[in-house]
């Protein structure tokens, strides 16, 4: 065991998979020499050579598109999009091909590509650097969408993603890249995709979140406890496919749901959680399921970002309303 933050544990997972499987390649803008702008791929080129860990030209569509080709030929490319806000030029390759190659060819050709991208706000960056558009990917048939919230999960989920025969969108909460440290085994282990995790048991309200919001929720929950509200916290870990059983079981128990995320509210992941609560636990609902999510606006520049972000207090405010409905 070693103490790792998320940057380190992802680096460790990549290192390990590069060592174990010579079909794994890692590339993207500044991924090689520089080791990535967040240093997630640091030293991997030194360890595994310039043919397997390398810089690409600045062109997101073909970063993903070429990875699809490699994957068809038996490789396991793990590509990095520097910020999730720069994945938009790659959406066509992701939607039209990465997600569909298997279906289109009745399984003859597959595209088990992992697209890694840091997402979310809270790092005082300019526009386009704080996006949380995971709902795009979740709504795209053929993809799986994974978002870890801890170093331990990040490693185990990334290993599963690389070993998965399906294409994976792997979104990394850059805000907590270095903020959370944890003991992480140095050997290989996998955390299954599609399984949520109940981080805390509770009876009054089911709180659902993922990524960097988990930490904010945990703070809110401590405050809520003082107000006598006992919260069950679920870390989704996979956005698509949702772990409907875990979520529904919890809602059936508590009758109340609060969903917390950075995304714009409307037509987001939260909407699907609201739908799920209805479809799976309608008769148990004691209060309207609630979204504590971003405004339907552009994430503001740093000076205004605090208005947009979900803070423990804001979560508490909404949580108490739901608990006392």
């Amino acid at each position: 065991m070693k103490i790792m933050n998320i940057v380190k544990s992802i680096n460790n997972a990549l290192d390990l998979m590069l060592r174990e499987n010579n079909k794994v390649v890692v590339y993207g803008e500044d991924v090689g020499v520089e080791g990535g702008v967040f240093r997630v791929t640091e030293d991997l080129q030194k360890k595994h050579g310039v043919e397997r860990v390398f810089d690409s030209p600045l062109a997101e569509s073909t970063i993903v598109g070429s990875a699809i080709g490699m994957a068809i030929a038996g490789y396991r490319p793990v590509v990095e999009i520097q910020f999730s806000g720069f994945a938009y030029p790659a959406l066509d390759q992701i939607i039209s091909h990465m997600a569909r190659m298997r279906n289109r060819t009745r399984g003859k050709f597959t595209s088990p590509v992992v697209v890694r991208m840091p997402y979310g706000g809270g790092i005082n960056a300019l526009e386009m650097h704080s996006e949380s558009m995971e709902a795009f990917y979740a709504h795209t048939p053929g993809l799986k969408v994974v978002i870890p919230s801890t170093p331990y999960d990040a490693k185990g989920l990334l290993i599963s993603a690389i070993e998965s025969d399906d294409p994976i969108i792997f979104m990394e909460p850059k805000r907590i890249y270095r903020a959370i440290k944890q003991e992480v085994p140095e050997e290989k282990y996998a955390i299954p995709i599609g399984k949520a995790k109940v981080l805390k048991k509770g009876n009054d309200v089911t709180m659902i979140a993922y990524g960097a919001m988990i930490r904010e929720c945990q703070k809110a929950i401590v405050m809520a406890e003082k107000e006598g509200v006992d919260v069950e916290l679920i870390d989704l870990r996979t956005i698509y496919p949702l772990d409907k059983e875990t979520i529904a079981d919890s809602i059936k128990k508590t009758g109340r749901v609060v969903f917390v995320a950075e995304e714009p509210t409307s037509f987001g992941v939260g909407s699907e959680i609201m739908a799920l609560a209805n479809e799976e636990a309608f008769l148990s609902l004691e209060a309207p399921p609630k979204r504590v999510t971003g405004f339907d606006t552009i994430v503001p520049y740093p000076q205004g970002e605090h208005f947009y972000m979900q803070t423990p207090e804001k979560i508490l405010f909404e949580l108490l309303e739901t608990a006392r409905f």
Binding site: V25, T62, A67, G69, A71, D92, R102, R106, K108, D165
Partner: protein, 369 residues
């Protein structure tokens, strides 16, 4: 070749004229008569398939179809020399002779355009991607396949196709640049058939040729008469040798003409004239090759008549077989999307079956009334 016919010169690489006479002996390929004859027959076969599909379409037995009519020599030049097992083919959607050479079955082609995904994967053929519906988006895949060949130290090549319209897309540009930076063994072949649906080349592209675009990537490029089988054959051979040796990608502009409609839903007379079509008809790739063969007494009209008859029978039989054996189960919709069965899909499938049962019962009860 790529220096002699350097794209900056804007020259067209040709080997035979419209009457099948060799006009460029120096670059006439080393190729034996039987290969030439086979190429002609294969092109004729492809053309016959095309024409018959168009007629099936008119009969309402097939959906929209994009014919290859007039462009057969371009992909036949690859078909005549492709390594069927090992080279990769990344199609656009007008390379029928090559699909067939690479192991696609008529059934696949029919199914595809009759609206069944089962045609899209070319059954048992090796290393050929499905046709690409979103224009030019296949080119990045070719780059990745080339990278894999390179990593695996396989001395094979990727043949990637795209149309003149496709060269306007961002993916064309990105893929060309990646290919050259990574020095992958990809032969890019642009079928410049003068139109993207109704849009003529001069509205499509700022440059006078497509070959010249190679220069913007430091890539080898050449502008070839795509209706001249021998010129295409030579260009493809030199390009693939170059790529196979690890020297990097090559861009071939194949200048050709879409003699037919864009698809069976299109009416070309909205945007071009009969005169223009007649002009290009003289350059028809099959006619030219036929002149060549007849001149050498390797072929005559009677041979052709006989062969066409056999072709038609074969094609019609294959079409009937396909029609008669068509089936599309609910499972087809769900079962190939993911490697595993997702809960959501299982639930949705189950719900659909419940609906089917309900519907059946309801119809029964209506009938019983």
């Amino acid at each position: 070749m790529f220096e002699v016919y350097h794209p900056v010169k804007g020259e067209l690489f040709e080997v035979i004229d419209n009457k099948g006479n060799i006009i460029n002996q120096e670059w006439f390929p080393e190729i034996d008569d039987s290969t030439v004859l086979k190429a002609y027959k294969d092109m004729l076969f492809a053309r016959t398939v095309d024409l018959m599909i168009v007629s099936y379409q008119r009969q309402g037995r097939i959906y929209t179809y994009p014919p290859n009519y007039g462009q057969e020599a371009v992909s036949q030049a690859v078909a005549s020399q492709v390594d069927v097992e090992n080279d990769w083919v990344v199609p656009a959607f007008r390379e029928l002779p090559l699909y067939l050479a690479k192991g696609a079955q008529l059934r696949d082609v029919f199914l595809m355009y009759m609206g069944d995904e089962k045609g899209a994967s070319w059954s048992e053929s090796k290393r050929m991607l499905p046709i690409s519906v979103p224009i030019a988006t296949q080119l990045p895949h070719a780059v990745g396949l080339g990278y894999a060949l390179k990593m695996d130290k396989e001395k094979h090549v990727v043949y990637a196709f795209v149309g003149d319209g496709g060269t306007s897309t961002g993916d064309f540009h990105e893929a060309m640049n990646f290919a050259q930076v990574w020095k992958v063994p990809v032969v890019f072949i642009v079928q410049n058939n003068q139109f993207a649906i109704s849009v003529p080349f001069n509205t499509q592209s700022g440059a006078d040729t497509i070959a010249v675009k190679a220069m913007g990537y430091g890539m080898k490029g050449i502008r070839v008469d795509g209706n001249d089988f021998f010129a295409m054959y030579s260009a493809v051979r030199d390009a693939s040798d170059y790529a196979r040796e690890g020297s990097g990608p090559v861009l071939i502009e194949a200048v050709t003409y879409r003699k037919g409609a864009h698809t069976t839903s299109d009416d070309p007379y909205k945007y071009r004239t009969k005169e223009e079509e007649e002009e290009w008809d003289k350059k028809d790739p099959l006619k030219r090759l036929k002149y060549y063969l007849m001149e050498r007494e390797l072929w005559n009209n009677k041979d052709e008549e006989l062969l066409l008859k056999t072709f038609k029978k074969e094609i019609d039989q294959a079409f009937l077989d396909t029609e008669n054996s068509m089936s599309y189960e609910l499972n087809e919709v769900f079962d190939h999307l993911y490697a595993d069965q997702l809960g959501d899909l299982i639930r949705q499938k189950k719900r659909y079956k419940e609906f089917m049962e309900w519907k059946a019962k309801r119809q029964e009860s209506v009938q019983n009334k």
